[in-house]
Symmetry: C2
Subunit: 261 residues, 2 copies
Amino acid sequence: MIKVELAALAELNASAQAVMRQARAQVLAKMGTKMTVAEKTGRKDLVTNVDRSNEHFLVQQIRRLDPAAQILAEEGLGDEVKSMAGHVWIVDPIDGTMNFVHQRNHFAIMMAFYIDGEPTLGYIYDVMGDKLYAGGPAVGVTLNAEPLAAPLDVSLADGLFGASAPLLIHDRFNMQQVVSTSLGPRIVGSAGIQISQVLAGELVGYLSYLRPWDFAAGRVLGESLGLVISQVDGTPVNMLSSGAVLIATKSAQRAILAIVK
Amino acid sequence: MIKVELAALAELNASAQAVMRQARAQVLAKMGTKMTVAEKTGRKDLVTNVDRSNEHFLVQQIRRLDPAAQILAEEGLGDEVKSMAGHVWIVDPIDGTMNFVHQRNHFAIMMAFYIDGEPTLGYIYDVMGDKLYAGGPAVGVTLNAEPLAAPLDVSLADGLFGASAPLLIHDRFNMQQVVSTSLGPRIVGSAGIQISQVLAGELVGYLSYLRPWDFAAGRVLGESLGLVISQVDGTPVNMLSSGAVLIATKSAQRAILAIVK
């Protein structure tokens, strides 16, 4: 097992935040130029030259900070990661590419660091809102370098719920009852933004079909703040596979797990 | 008919923007103190002391600027307006009160001015985003005092769609097909914020059951920017009654009206 001392971790955390700020500046600069947009699996699944160039930058910077680590990155410029043993970084260069292309707003850059499968550091950058959520269980969680208070343990009935459009429309997992038990659904179209809203206490939970890079950073930050993350059936998430993932307050998770089918 | 000359209108526009900025500052200050929250028609329909105090302030300021006008205001502190003849102001002191209370984000202050039923001036203030959309057909539309370019006439299939949760879940007006024709739905829970996203080109349209104060400012600003607003069956909106209201690009409106049932 490769351990990292707290001082080294705090230094890594500072360096990683600097990388995130540099990544944001580069993405903003590229938004002023002509972007190339391509479809991945269909017209609702996009990738741009900025996703690729930003992933290239992040992978390069992680190699510099942590040369022996493995890197799992959305656009495939990292490694083929088959195990969470040792140091693993998980990267989403642009989360919410649809919003990035069609709204030029409401998208995030995300990065997470796990040691032997343990959530260690996480970063969610709401680019246009200029809000960087950063940290982990050992170093604490900050929003733009200021300590972030843990959200209150609000119940499902007393909060707004972050929904995914397909799950809501097709009533997967009894989602419509989850939503009607809550004060109402909110749909932003970026896991990073919606998870950051759970961190900020704006939503009591968020449920969506997610891939590892969609929830890796949110898991680190959420667990550090007393939130819970699980698969929709309550079992632990697997950092190397996709599925319906729930991040919520403890109280909202209990209520949601009792409703989902 | 009470006419207003362009110079007088420009002056009124400047004064109204100053009122909006003052209202925002007061609302922000009150968010730092303990708020009183009450239910209106149920647990999902809230009003706070800040809705009331801000409406009181706005009504007072409008009386100062335009003493002979009638004022239609959400919380009932204005007049009982029965006709759109003459000068009519329409006020929503906090649009998205649920978000205001439970997110402390994603809510708007709105105000609109009609002369003999003609859209003349409109204001949508995204309070936490600090974005003031202001103006009208004669004076032009600004975002934070800078001219705002009209959004492109993007088609439904090429854009994101602002949905209302009840209409989407219950598939009213064939809303699920509208959404699946678009690139996806977005739900924010504030008509003011979602209409401002249509103005900004982030959404190609927004359909929801709305009351006059929910769409009065959006109509002025939207029509000034070449957007179209109508009832869901394509007939003109009535400024003194509620209904399912659509604001969209011309092209998206055509596609949506062909889908709705």
